[in-house]
């Protein structure tokens, strides 16, 4: 291949790596500054090109790595130099970071292309077409930030990207900040964005503390320098590594939505669907998994911390999967599913099965992006059936087609919610491409061979069986629930009879969207062959960075159990939603009828949010109230400000004005005036105006002078 030859010739592409950051950044700037004037086509072209260019750069890095697998460090700029702390902004190009680059820019570009069409509808249904450019500016900014995150050669550079993607996440969750997900005026979306941001702050605090400790005991934040000193520090201060790894884990639980900080991710579904696909499923939330993998030398030195990470991941996988079972919102199911799958990855990297974790990260990016984009396609299909855009002329259902695209909900109706799975059903016939690709992704998620999810999940389960049997149990149970909830969703959405007018008239999405779905479906079908037990190029690829990689032999028992569990769960879902307890026989979700209270408990996500509400939010509010009313108002304002500052000032100014200004300063001025006046009053008596008096005075003067002269001449 031509490019490979070029790479072999010695001209490596490593020095091109900064472009993966700067080109998307440029795209974000262009769209952010002059996007409104470019028109939708111009904006889309700029955004997709920028993201595609980043992918091209990533591919070139990968090509260079095939020849120079040891990678390179590409310096960009001197950044911080304070005393001993020297941090350059440099990019670490190795197999691990390039894997992330490929996933981020590859899946990112596909989602960009999808969003070109999706956002065309979304901005119109939400009533502000001008926001199209802003969306793509944020999206490109996200790609740039993610590139900084995955290529940084120090924890601080990584943290910059970490916060940058958090910012983009905040901006995009709150993209429709003035409404809720149904488009009603509300602060709901803005609150969801703020929740994501605030919960992530908790995790970031852990990350920061870990970095402080790292600088204190390692004297550096650069990956290589830190890892070199691990054995030394592990011997001298074992607790330091323990503290650092657990604090990093806190950061991971924030960004990768693990117990206990996962609560922000379901609310993050308030963002447009491509955002959920790119940021809250495929890339940003996997940053935590990347962080643990990147820090593998730290974690390998502390087995106890590894166990904690693995258990956190395993518990999250199971708990979140159980929550996903009882959701009605098509995206909420996927949100909990994402949390659960991230739990799989975190458990894997926690156990030390870094290749398995990264492998699942990659395949998950494919099929979860596909699921989210498919759900977006379903949402748009229902929206278009419910009230077609004026430009389409529309053959949706009757009353609100034509010129007034604005839909009027009559008072007694629930507002139309295109994300509610209860109004769907039978969509496979109406939107076949979306439907079949969705089923492929669902099979991949359920871990049915030979799809992508099977291989990666199987590898994790295999490692878990050997390394952490408890976690193996948790993950197997989670795998069962995973297959169940995703096929519950598939059956509710795509099979059976349509349960609403909109579902009966759903319109397949444009080819730009379905095309992306097909590409991702292909990746979900074949992605698993990157790393099968018999042929594992992915493992060998990562071996250059991760060193210790022993691929476990294929275990038919593990694979059989996981596949069997998946099939049983799918069968159970079929039984409940299509067979004996089919939806049509019951007025409600049959599962809700079967599980009763448990269903509500799961639907409320174990009342986790309510717990935080009681423990943290209420306490925080009480504290805030105390601070606001007692401390700020009564103490600072009423007492300190009014009495001490203002009162003191008043007293000083009164002192200065009364005795000093009026007494002394004015006294001097007035006294001068008064004394001059008094003198004048005395002297004026001499001026009688009578010539005689003056003449007399002259005479006395002359006589006086004469007397003097005569006396002097004596």
């Amino acid at each position: 291949m031509f490019l490979e030859t070029v790479a072999r010739e010695g001209a490596t592409f490593f020095h091109l790596a900064p472009l993966a950051v700067f080109v998307p950044l440029l795209g974000a700037l262009v769209n952010g500054l002059i996007g409104r004037r470019l028109g939708e086509r111009g904006v889309a072209l700029v955004a997709v090109t920028a993201s595609g260019f980043a992918f091209l750069v990533a591919v070139l890095q990968a090509l260079s790595l095939t020849v120079y697998p040891e990678g390179a460090v590409v310096p960009i700029a001197e950044w911080i130099t304070i005393g001993e702390l020297r941090i350059a902004w440099a990019q670490q190009i190795d197999t691990l970071s390039v894997t992330m680059m490929l996933v981020v820019s590859g899946v990112g570009t596909l989602i960009h292309i999808y969003a070109v069409s999706y956002m065309h509808y979304d901005v119109r249904y939400k009533g502000d077409p001008g926001r199209y450019a802003r969306f793509f500016a944020y999206f490109n900014l996200f790609i740039a930030m993610m590139m900084i995150l995955v290529t940084g050669d120090s924890y601080l550079t990584l943290f910059v990207g970490w916060e940058g993607v958090g910012l983009c996440s905040f901006l995009l969750i709150g993209f429709w900040y003035e409404m809720d997900i149904l488009g009603r005026p509300s602060t709901a979306n803005a609150r969801a964005a703020m929740k994501a941001f605030v919960v992530n702050r908790v995790g970031d605090a852990g990350f920061l503390l870990a970095m402080f400790l790292m600088f204190w005991f390692f004297g550096s934040l650069q990956f290589r320098e830190v890892f070199e000193k691990v054995p030394e520090v592990a011997q001298a201060q074992p607790w330091v590594l323990m503290a650092i790894t657990l604090l990093l884990l806190l950061g991971v639980t924030g960004k990768s939505a693990q117990i206990p900080l996962f609560v922000w991710l379901p609310d993050a579904m308030a963002g447009p669907t491509p955002v959920s696909a790119l940021i809250h499923a495929a890339t940003m939330v996997t940053a935590g998994v990347y962080l643990v993998t990147r820090s593998h030398e730290l974690y390998m030195a502390v087995p106890e911390a590894q166990a904690v990470v693995a258990v956190v991941g395993g518990l999250t996988a199971l708990v979140a999967a159980s929550m996903a079972v009882a959701q009605y919102d098509i995206k909420k199911v996927l949100a909990y599913s994402t949390i659960s799958q991230l739990g799989f990855m975190v458990a894997a990297v926690g156990m030390g099965a870094f290749v398995a974790g990264m492998f699942h990260l990659v395949t998950h990016a494919f099929f979860k992006a596909l699921l989210f984009l498919g759900s977006g396609s379903v949402i748009i299909a229902l929206e278009r059936a419910h009230h077609p855009l004026p430009e389409e002329g529309g053959h949706g259902h009757g009353h609100d087609q034509g010129d007034h695209g604005e839909h009027e909900d009559h008072g007694e109706h629930e507002p139309f919610n295109p994300q509610d799975m209860r109004i769907m059903g039978g969509l496979l016939r109406r939107i076949p491409v979306t439907g079949w690709t969705y089923i492929i992704a669902a099979l991949a998620l359920a871990g049915i061979p030979p799809l992508a999810g099977f291989w990666s999940k199987d590898e994790i389960l295999l490692e878990a069986k050997h390394l952490q049997p408890v976690v193996y149990g948790l993950l197997s149970a989670a795998a069962f629930l995973t297959a169940f909830y995703i096929f519950r969703q598939v059956f509710m959405v795509f099979f059976g009879q349509p349960r609403s007018e909109a579902a009966a008239h759903a319109v397949e999405s444009p080819r730009l969207m379905t095309g992306v779905l097909l590409v991702l479906a292909l990746l979900s079908l074949t992605g698993g062959f990157l790393n099968t037990p018999w042929f594992h190029p992915f493992g060998q690829w990562l071996e250059h960075t991760l060193k210790e990689v022993e691929a476990l032999p294929f275990d038919p028992l593990v694979a059989g159990i996981s596949t069997g569990v998946g099939l049983v769960a799918i069968g159970l879902a079929w039984l409940i939603y299509r067979g004996t307890f089919a939806w049509s026989r019951w007025e409600q979700d049959p599962l809700q009828f079967l599980l009763k209270g448990l269903f509500d408990f799961l639907q409320a996500s174990w009342h986790w949010d309510d717990l935080y509400q009681v423990v943290f939010v209420r306490g925080y509010r009480a504290l805030a109230g105390f601070l606001a009313f007692a401390v700020d108002w009564t103490f600072w304002h009423d007492w300190f400000h009014d009495v001490v500052v203002a009162g003191g000032f008043r007293r000083i100014s009164r002192f200065l004005s009364q005795p000093i200004d009026l007494g002394i300063i004015d006294g001097i001025a007035n006294g001068l005036g008064n004394s001059v006046q008094g003198l004048a009053l005395t002297l004026r008596r001499w001026q009688t105006g009578y010539v005689r008096n003056y003449a007399l005075a002259v005479m006395f003067g002359v006589v006086g002078m004469l007397v003097y002269v005569l006396w002097a001449l004596r």
């Binding site: 008596r685 001026q687 009688t688 105006g689 009578y690 010539v691 005689r692 003449a695």
Partner: protein
């Protein structure tokens, strides 16, 4: 020959009469006469001493005094006329506008 001291006494007498006239009389014209009287008392003293010392400078000085007195009278009478025009009086006490 009449001794010089007689002339000087007479001059002093005239001067005193003139000065008292200026100080005590209210009629402006009379005051003018008092001033003339003092000037001529001085002239008499000049002339008397000029004769005693045989020096004509004293006599010469008298001519100057007479000339200046004539000019002074001209100015003074003009002032008196103007005062009379404005005050309808020649009483010296009527012009006390500069009283402080």
């Amino acid at each position: 020959m009449v001794p010089t001291s007689f002339y000087v006494f007479l001059a002093a007498l005239l001067f005193t009469i003139g000065a008292v006239t200026v100080l005590v009389r209210r009629n402006t014209l009379i005051i003018y006469m008092g001033i003339e009287l003092m000037l001529n008392a001085a002239n008499l003293a000049f002339v008397a001493f000029a004769r005693q010392f045989g020096d004509v400078a004293g006599q010469l000085f008298v001519f100057f005094v007479i000339t200046v007195a004539a000019a002074e009278v001209a100015v003074g009478l003009a002032l008196i006329v103007t005062i009379f025009h404005t005050k309808h009086s020649v009483d010296i006490d009527a012009i006390s506008d500069l009283k402080g």
